[in-house]
């Protein structure tokens, strides 16, 4: 096969993968040395989940150019369906890593379906409707899971909605030895935690692989083209709704997988964890890392998840300092002087004719 010439983006993608691998190895070495603090060790899996969330949201916001304010909602769908899958498959698939993988796939599929349901009516429209609808979706999912009762026994899955507030897990009518998986507002409790840092690393790599390869295929070009100019994209034969759906559903599915891993990392998880604040937090990772810039999202997600821990010294003023750091980083990364300074280190020279 004749080789395509190495492009700028191929090099950037390669360095991104390499960076994640190096980070994983370093963290693993530090962990086995015992030089990581307890709180940071506990943060490793959530950091991987947030990195993956940031990359997948970047697909919607940076690459597709649509604002989504309910990304945590897809994470929630993935988390709770993943928990249900993992708990009910406990006897069928005894191997924890395999069960985790299956749970993540089911979480991704559930979130993809949710994404398709949300996206189908909205993505036909032009304008900022997606932001409003995803915002509502995040809240609706939170309330739905809050009154969801799920249990598993020898007869299979039992599900009920506690809409009036009068039902409890006992009303599911489970047999002896059945387990309660989701208990309404109490959330999922007693979950067997099977998430591992290695799984988190694989999740980040898979997310990067999917998003980067999608971006640099014909579908990705079409998605970026309709972001840049929808009218022109249509004029060259691109079906706008189809590609919008493709990007949005893929983004939701990846969020679902991340959610499943996140859910299986904690023995107890409430639906309120995936609220509007979480959606905004992920959006902050994306904006801070740069729209369409995947390695930026990774760094921003990791740094901003660790930062509150590092700022413990400021005790009560922790969140104040956090906000100030955020503002300073935003200002610094948009500073023209700094930008030109950093552009000198770019690997490629600008080609010939530049802007007029």
């Amino acid at each position: 096969m004749k080789k395509l010439r190495i492009k700028q983006h191929t090099r950037t993608d390669f360095l991104t993968y390499l960076g994640v691998i190096i980070l994983f190895v370093v963290m693993n070495v530090l962990k086995s040395n015992g030089s990581l603090s307890r709180s940071l060790t506990g943060q490793l899996v959530p950091i991987c989940c947030y990195m993956s969330m940031a990359v997948s949201l970047n697909l919607t916001v940076g690459i597709l150019g649509e604002l989504s304010l309910g990304h945590a909602g897809f994470m929630s769908v993935g988390a709770f369906s993943g928990i249900v899958a993992a708990m009910s498959l406990q006897n069928i698939i005894p191997a924890a890593p395999l069960r985790l993988a299956v749970a993540m796939v089911i979480g991704a599929a559930a979130a993809a379906i949710a994404g398709a349901i949300v996206g189908t009516p909205v993505l036909r429209l032009r304008g900022d409707y997606l932001a409003i609808v995803t915002l509502a979706f995040g809240e609706i999912i939170k309330d739905l899971v809050n009154c969801l009762l799920v249990g598993y026994d020898a007869k299979g899955l039992h599900m009920a909605f506690n809409l009036t507030g009068s039902k409890t897990i006992d009303d599911l009518g489970m047999k002896e030895g059945g387990i309660a998986i989701i208990k309404g507002a109490q959330g999922a409790t007693g979950t067997t935690t099977i998430a591992s840092f290695t799984a988190g690393f694989i999740l980040v790599m898979v997310t990067l692989f999917v998003v980067l390869n999608l971006k640099h295929s014909r579908a990705g070009r079409a998605i970026m083209a309709l972001r840049d100019n929808a009218i022109a994209a249509e004029s060259v034969g691109i079906n706008i709704t189809k590609y919008k759906m493709m990007a949005f559903v893929t983004s939701a599915a990846l969020a679902g997988a991340a959610g499943a891993l996140y859910g299986l990392n904690f023995s107890s998880l409430q639906a309120t964890k995936f609220n509007f604040n979480t959606s905004i937090l992920i959006l902050v990772f994306v904006v801070l890392g740069g729209l369409g810039n995947l390695w930026g999202s990774l760094i921003a997600a990791a740094a901003l998840t660790v930062l509150p821990e590092l700022l413990r010294a400021f005790s009560d003023y922790r969140m104040l300092v956090y906000a100030i750091v955020l503002i300073l980083v935003m200002l610094a990364t948009n500073n023209p002087t700094l930008k030109t300074f950093f552009s000198r280190f770019k690997l490629h020279k600008p080609t010939g004719k530049e802007a007029v």
Partner: protein, 277 residues
């Protein structure tokens, strides 16, 4: 110098070489109303398969509206558009493009954050077959089709000597190059009718001369029909085989460049009515 047109009053602008074939484009009583205003009305026109046709008229005559009707940016409120004999009724912009109409825009609409090459390959999307998963997992079909697309893009870009700019971001190209890239992008969709909306706008005389050469070259190489809107009369009179003049949404004259230059209705539309002495 130019092929002869079928004599008027034939409603069509068909050169003799195309007269006995199905016209690539046929508009029958085409019209659109915006509120109460008839922006285009009773637009009748047929274009032969390999013809270069000009659509001229004063500002606000409705020329770009005609383009928007043909490409279904607006759905016509009246009339029929036949593309190669097939009705384009109810088609979307994307479908019309896949059926064979490609266009450029008066105010340049490139994909600014994509490279020059990507701007061209994205236009080949409808002719590429591999699906999303093949793209994600980089299966052999991906490499095969991407290589074909890459080679075809460079080939098309080299018509306008732009192959060496392939990796530049489209947004950072100089103005003239952006206009040329729009034409290349339109050609990449493999059209049978190319619509050019003021291709020479903002170009200097030497660039315009080069553009004229290229428009002819495109027609000869790809054997396609070209319909162009242009205010540069030198360009229009030099390369168009048939010309339609539009004023207030209606065609006021059709014919060869020679006919149009001496047509009193056209002179009136452009310069106003001469006062009686």
């Amino acid at each position: 110098m130019f092929p002869k047109l079928v004599p008027m009053p034939s409603p069509n602008l068909l050169t003799e070489r195309d007269a006995d074939k199905t016209p690539i484009l046929e508009c029958i009583n085409l019209g659109i109303n915006f509120g109460g205003l008839a922006a285009v009305e009773n637009f009748n026109m047929a274009i032969g398969r390999t013809e270069i046709t000009g659509l001229i008229g004063p500002n606000g005559a409705g020329k770009t509206t005609v383009f928007n009707l043909l490409t279904k940016v607006y759905q016509p409120t009246k009339g029929t558009i036949l593309l190669d004999g097939n009705d384009t009724h109810n088609m979307t912009t994307a479908q019309v493009n896949r059926a064979g109409i490609a266009r450029t825009f008066q105010n340049i609409r490139l994909f600014n954050d994509l490279t020059v090459e990507e701007n061209v390959t994205v236009a080949m999307n409808a002719h590429m077959r591999y699906n999303m998963w093949t793209g994600i997992f980089r299966l052999p079909a991906f490499w095969k089709e991407e290589r074909v697309a890459h080679e075809r893009a460079l080939e098309l870009l080299s018509i306008f000597n732009m192959a060496d700019l392939a990796d530049t971001k489209a947004g950072s190209l100089p103005y003239g190059a952006q206009r040329r890239l729009e034409i290349v992008r339109a050609l990449a969709t493999n059209p049978s009718l190319l619509l050019l909306d003021e291709p020479a706008a903002g170009m200097n005389p030497s660039e315009t001369a080069e553009l004229m050469e290229n428009i002819r070259k495109i027609r000869d190489t790809f054997q396609i029909a070209i319909l162009l809107i242009e205010h540069d009369m030198n360009l229009v009179m030099n390369i168009c085989e048939g010309i339609a003049v539009l004023n207030f949404g209606r065609i006021i004259a059709k014919g060869t460049p020679e006919d149009i230059q001496s047509n009193p209705a056209v002179i009136e539309a452009y310069l106003g009515k001469q006062k009686e002495a």
